[in-house]
Symmetry: C2
Subunit: 918 residues, 2 copies
């Protein structure tokens, strides 16, 4: 282990900004600010290595460390002129965690450490402010007891409420008329007088004795060891673990611990505290944006009891702005923030405290921002010359721009919250509630906006989903049918909203609405036709039509996309099944269609009957006849798609799902269909049962259908190539690619390729022209990846179907995984839902194996990916590194993919986002 | 290409027996017999290389070949003294296919080639037997037209029937009273007189002209080219393709073509023809066993119109035996067969023809035999010193001994055939039909033998399957639930019997019985309580109780097993869930239990309620309480198993199936259970729906249950270790191995291992003793194989669950695969059902990857396999080569596995079965 403690103070710091791994973000920021000559209260950082040592040794702090801490405290004393533990001139310190990555609120902080009864008296004498000293002590006891001694915070609540009640009565307020939260606003802690504070301190100490069996530690050094240990321990508290799992932060990073001389913003009206951003974190506008409170400690700003005031003028309350109230301090602050932004080359989130007219900086870090702000800041900083275009590209989290591409709820509109589900597909949408797909289509046809509400959706609901503005389901996860289809359509969707109970019989849903404490407060009944609003970005459902704000693709957004396109190597295609989807995709910058699913085309009312005839056909002749009824429809679909994608490749996947997906399963529907089709109910029912599968995902589907019923693929190939010839004859460039699903053997491909070539010859002979087309396969089964060297003989391209490849490699059904995937992520078994972010170790290994083996046979084989992962930035990073040629994703995610593709290209060439690691 | 033609005749042969690849089995046999000085009509073999050349050139025979054939025919002429195409002294030839492996009846043969009108007259003159000559010609035209000219055989049928009718009338028989089959027996072809034959020849020629548009070829050389081409083409006829697919014969082997001088067994009473085996092919007894017909051609013996006579005395009709009728020929034949068996060191299947008192050999090859005969012959030959013990081991096809281990239908008993399904689990069984598992258990409890008949079975039927003598299902394949469980229990099972329709409402089944032509002949109604008999070895179902013959594990069988055990390296364990299974397994020689499934124990009446309580429990406490009710049952199960397996390892797999398998799904059953459990029907129904999965195979099962409900595995581990301690305290050696299903990450194993160790500590503390146990995992997901290096950190052993690994690697649901696997095997996509024989390229690659990676982390990791493949000889061959430590299979397949394991061990050390390649 290297150096354990890094001192900072009075213009000198042992550490520097590049040492974040060792010092954590906060420690590195404090060191760097100190080096820059910015006023920072002195202190020191205990390294993350010590934290890891602490865990390795089972939770012990060594004597050597204690000696060094004591010595470093002397250096701090030398600067501030007070001494830790000295009753006459006491030095108080804060003890804060600080990991390499920001984990806001996840770990623990202790303020005002170093107080006991004697020292409080000294502090009172020294500051001439006994109330301040007492207030600091009672805050310290409560914080310390909670964090270090693990006394639950609510144990102290009663004492605090009593003190407030007493203070209220003293102020002539009847406390019995208010809830405790109201009372806290009426009687802020500053209204507690000295006797009240003394009483509170005594009560707190009594509570500690009762709860822990030991008196509150009076020795400041003992307090400090306890606090340092608690900070290290907090790295493993449950909140922190979940946060790390969510944000891919490795456990072995550990946290640093910062011990710093306290400065007080609550010493009077010439003191204060505040937070600010160097640019607007919401819009990205270049203006200094912050809030402050006079005579307050940091936690008061966060607590929200007092309303903070603007730092700068132009923020609504100019008279109370820091700029007006303390112009000298403000000038210093402006100077500092400009220096910091220039130095760190990114928008900064800063914390400051003014103690008796002197400004101190307590923290600086890269500020969190909205997607919109992120784009604007990156582009503007590049234009200002602060960063390069490449850095600008690396600055924007691709996931964050999703919100830019959809309309959103007006944040200022009043709304009645109903329920929260999963944010399955972003965007806001209002409409009349309908419970059936047919009804959705009917009402939408009359121009009414509708929201389709279902327990869950199935392929039979597609037309209703298409007609609806948004989809709400009671069951299913982020990768349920509703979620996947809605994202593909770019439609708002809230899925798995378990607090709603749908009663189809009475066309209503019952929603249990919970109060803020999580208890059911009321049951709201929403009937068909009532208006609701979905916020697919947050998963919220509101009653009525809440006003929305349209997507504003700002000018900076377009600029950023242009820059991204210049550097990326991965092509970006879209998954699009219809001419409309294709147009949307092209507008978003798609460079082709990577997956055109032909089965969605089968669900249209006019067609589904022919599909069903085909399924019920007793022999090949009857089947062929039924199939051929579909030919003109499919051809027309493809004509439209090819026209939209003129000049760009279009990969069309032949029929994939098992046939039973096209038959109804409910008895009434079966009866009705039997009548329509003129067959007996029994016959139809038997067929339905015969086709029903135990595990349809692993069933008779994809090219397996072509082995048993070649006429389906024959018709589809004919439709594709006839459409291509038709469009080509109009002078439009067409680039069809025929893709076989679920293949795992060379032989399957040889059989389907022979069929394809036979049909192609017939079509070209008839059309009197030929055109180039490509034949390839999906890689969606482990065996296909393993046998890629053989599959690459007939296949000219591979498209990784990572949805199914994940299902089979991990043995997890996407539709059923909701029951345990949450627990899996929580237990740290998976860092993320493997259906959202590709499992690099397992699925990724097969992708790499297939790439290697496929290229060995056919060096120029084209490799793409068309699963949901194609729109996930982390996955795109992997696919880029794995050397694929393109990714294909939902049209609405194309810009995200373009950006993510640019980022991985930059990373591969060694470019770094030098600031994003602040 | 090397030499195209290999001559044989008069004691000289160009080829020899070792050249089977080039000459085919028949050609090599003829060459070898000629070399041995055995009388063989002279001829020559056109090599398999020529066949491949023929295909490569698109079906052409080269001029060079034609020249060489003509030259070689001259060599034949020189020996026999007749000339091909010579009208005075014609040489007739046979043209037969002959591939490297015997493919009986799959390819084509032409006899009497070289005849036309002129030559027939010459032949008549030379033999002085015009009727013989005409008969030879009309046979030749029909055979040649069918095989070479592709005129369907039935086109000739009418002419032949007319001739027979006329002959019948001439003989004073009224032909209108008989069917054509009966007529053929009444008027065998030998009764056709010369005018009838002449008439027939004329009609046949007319038919050929009409069907092909060309006259029948008169030029013998043209006939010969046609026949050679047809023999080569027959390699690709559909029958041959299917046969090759079934027997793993590569397409590129090709067939040789044998052209040989005809000898005639139908020249009078001093002529004849016959086939014989050098030992009894049914029992293996060392006796010369054959049949012959005087005055007949080879095809007459096969056609079955005349009843053949015994070759040797003691065969029932001594007076007509060859031994008595033609003692000189018989002596020659005995001499030859003894020479051949000694030379080829295996039981021979020989064909001979006696032409006017002279005996000729036409074929010799290793004889097909029953499993029983196979064992006896191998052991006796080894004892005779003819072969070594190792060769004896390699001589017996392990699959063939399956039939020895079960009772079988008495072949001589009269029986009424009802239906044929899949031979899902061997053995014969008779019993009363029952349609419900409960009823099966009830009646069996009263001592009645029952056959459980179901559309398909599910885990809820286990108790009924256990109680039944045999299981019959209307749906499902060789690896359906019924089939797998029945094989595990060693019970007869006929599965997927699609001609039966079960009506549960009326407790009867309707069986469509087909006539020999495949047309439905009648519908038999079998009611509950009626007696039926299953033959699980053939898939036949009979009405009534057909007498059976018990399994006779002959002394030779035991000897062979001993020899096998001496050489094998793979250990053989059994899959056994109960003490009874364990005992059976041990009796069959199992060296431990490789898979003890704990879930079957959950289905017992007393236990299922507690299981259901557990599932319905609202919280962990209630769940724990319900789970603990199961503890004593599980412990008792394990005590029994450990006792039976004293001193041997027992691998126990913790709960594997998804929980919904333990709940009823039919509305009535749900209602009934709700009442029993005192919950509302709605509550139960909701739970059932909530747990229902789209793809249960990929669902919430195996160790995923342990992540969400750790109390289940906790209970199971406790039951295992408490049982182990109890049994150990009685001085019995116990070797428990705890196995985690469906794991794919190290973390899952770490979590379950921690749980295991915690429980172990508690149990050992309480018992006051510790004992050694092992912790390991199944490898049944591709990801588990890929991550084997990590899984091997916590896991001390891997057991490959190749059933599930096949399902996931290939993306095929075992339960649903029946719909297309047949077509897949037929199309040559899979050589065999991958659930019966492991897919070496795909699944095998993952097994090898896991072995390699697992051993890298833990060099001494124990590797086994416990899927259905553990009892399949071809798969065992792979597992042996892959270096696993053991295979585990159904108790009844243990002997098969022991033998297969010995064979792979011998192959790995380079031992060869020198004769089996005859």
């Amino acid at each position: 282990m290297g150096k354990a403690i890094y001192f900072f103070g009075a213009g000198h710091a042992d550490g520097e900004h590049s040492q974040k791994e060792l010092l954590g973000g906060k420690g590195a920021g404090l060191a760097e600010m100190t080096r820059l000559g910015i006023p920072v209260p002195p202190g020191f950082t205990i390294t993350t290595e010590v934290c890891n040592e602490f865990y390795a040794s089972g939770g012990k702090l060594t004597d050597a460390l204690k000696t060094e801490v004591a010595a470093t405290l002397e250096r701090v004393s030398a600067i501030v002129g007070t001494r830790f533990g000295d009753a006459q001139s006491p030095l108080l310190v804060s003890v804060r965690s600080g990991a390499r990555a920001s984990m806001p609120g996840m770990m623990d902080t202790i303020l005002n450490l170093g107080l006991n009864d004697t020292i409080v008296a000294g502090l009172a004498a020294k500051t001439g402010n006994r109330k301040f000293a007492l207030d600091a002590f009672r805050r310290f006891i409560m914080l310390y007891s909670g964090v270090v001694l693990e006394v639950p915070r609510d144990k102290f609540e009663h004492a605090l409420v009593s003190a407030r009640r007493k203070a209220a009565t003293d102020l002539g307020i009847d406390p019995s008329r208010y809830t405790s939260a109201e009372l806290e606003r009426k009687v802020p802690d500053s209204k507690l007088d000295e006797p009240a504070l003394e009483q509170l301190i005594a009560e707190e100490k009594a509570i500690v004795l009762k709860e822990t069996g030991k008196p509150f530690p009076e020795d400041p050094m003992e307090q400090l060891w306890g606090a340092i240990g608690a900070v290290f321990r907090s790295w493993h508290n449950p909140r922190a673990k979940v946060y790390r799992a969510m944000h891919d932060i490795p456990e072995n990073w550990g946290t640093a611990c910062n011990v710093q001389a306290m400065v007080f913003g609550n010493l009077g009206d010439d003191s204060g505290t505040g937070v600010a951003f160097t640019r607007d974190p919401s819009t990205g506008e270049k203006r200094f944006f912050g809030e402050w409170l006079p005579n307050a400690q940091g936690e008061d700003v966060v607590a929200g009891v007092r309303t903070p005031l603007p730092v700068s003028k132009g923020g609504g309350d100019d008279a109370n702005s820091l700029e007006v109230k303390m112009p000298a301090c403000y000038t210093v602050l402006v100077d500092i923030y400009q220096k910091l932004e220039k130095h760190f080359r990114d928008m900064q989130d800063i914390e400051f405290t003014i103690q008796s007219g002197t400004l101190y900086m307590l923290q600086c870090r890269n500020g969190k921002r909205t997607g919109k702000a992120s784009v604007r800041i990156a582009v503007e900083m590049a234009r200002e010359g602060l960063i390069s275009e490449k850095e600008a590209i690396l600055r924007v989290d691709p996931s964050s721009i999703d919100q830019l591409l959809h309309p959103s709820i007006d944040p200022n509109a009043p709304k009645k919250f109903l329920a929260r589900g999963l944010p399955a597909s972003p965007g806001a949408a209002s409409g009349h509630v309908v419970f059936h797909a047919d009804e959705a289509e009917r009402l939408a046809g009359r121009g009414k906006p509708v929201i389709l509400v279902r327990a869950e959706t199935s392929p039979e609901d597609i037309h209703g989903m298409k007609a609806a503005r948004g989809i709400l389901t009671a069951r299913g996860g982020m990768t349920s049918h509703a979620a996947v289809v809605a994202r593909g359509m770019g439609k708002s969707c809230v899925a798995g909203c378990s607090s709603i109970a749908i009663r189809y019989e009475t066309s209503e849903m019952h929603i249990s609405v919970y109060d803020s404490a999580g208890h059911p407060a009321e049951t709201v009944v929403v009937k068909a036709g009532d208006m609701i609003t979905l916020d697919g970005g947050t998963g919220s459902v509101f009653l009525g039509a809440v006003p929305t704000v349209p997507a504003a693709l700002s000018g900076e957004f377009g600029v950023l996309m242009e820059w991204a396109d210049k550097v990326r190597k991965l092509r970006v295609r879209a998954n699009a099944d219809t001419p409309l989807d294709a147009r949307t995709a092209r507008n978003f910058g798609a460079e082709g269609i990577g997956l055109c699913r032909t089965e969605h085309m089968f669900f249209d009312d006019e067609r589904i009957l022919a599909v069903r005839e085909m399924i019920l056909a007793g022999d090949q002749a009857a089947r062929k006849q039924a199939v051929n009824k579909l030919l003109p429809f499919q051809r027309a679909d493809f004509v439209g798609v090819f026209r939209e994608m003129a000049g760009l490749p279009v990969t069309i996947r032949l029929l994939d799902p098992p046939l039973h997906e096209f038959l109804p399963h409910e008895p009434e529907q079966v009866a009705q269909l039997a009548q329509t089709m003129g067959v007996s109910r029994d016959t139809l029912q038997r067929k339905v049962e015969e086709l029903t599968e135990y595990n349809p995902m692993l069933g008779h589907r994809g090219c397996r259908l072509a082995i048993t019923y070649p006429e389906i693929y024959e018709m589809q190939v004919r439709a594709i190539l006839e459409a291509a010839c038709e469009v080509a004859s109009q002078g439009v460039e067409v680039k069809p690619e025929i893709m076989i699903p679920i293949a795992m053997t060379k032989k399957e491909l040889l059989i389907t390729k022979e069929l394809t070539e036979k049909v192609a010859k017939e079509v070209f002979d008839q059309a009197g022209r030929t055109l180039e087309y490509h034949f390839g396969t999906m890689i969606e089964l482990p065996r296909a990846a393993i046998m890629a060297h053989e599959l690459a003989e007939p296949a000219e391209f591979f498209s990784f179907g990572t949805n199914d490849l994940t299902q089979t490699t991990l043995g997890i059904s996407r539709d059923d995984a909701g029951r345990f995937l949450g627990a899996y992520v929580e237990a740290g078994i998976f860092a993320k839902d493997p259906f959202q972010t590709v499992d690099v170790q397992g699925v990724g290994a097969l992708v790499e194996m297939a790439r290697e083996r496929g290229r060995k046979t056919r060096p120029n084989i084209k490799l793409g990916i068309c699963g949901e992962h194609g729109g996930d930035p982390t996955s795109i990073d992997f696919f880029g590194k794995a050397g694929l040629d393109y990714v294909s994703c939902s049209p609405f995610r194309v810009p995200i993919a373009r950006l993510a593709a640019a980022q991985v290209a930059l990373k591969l060439t060694g470019a770094k986002n030098e600031s994003s690691s602040t």
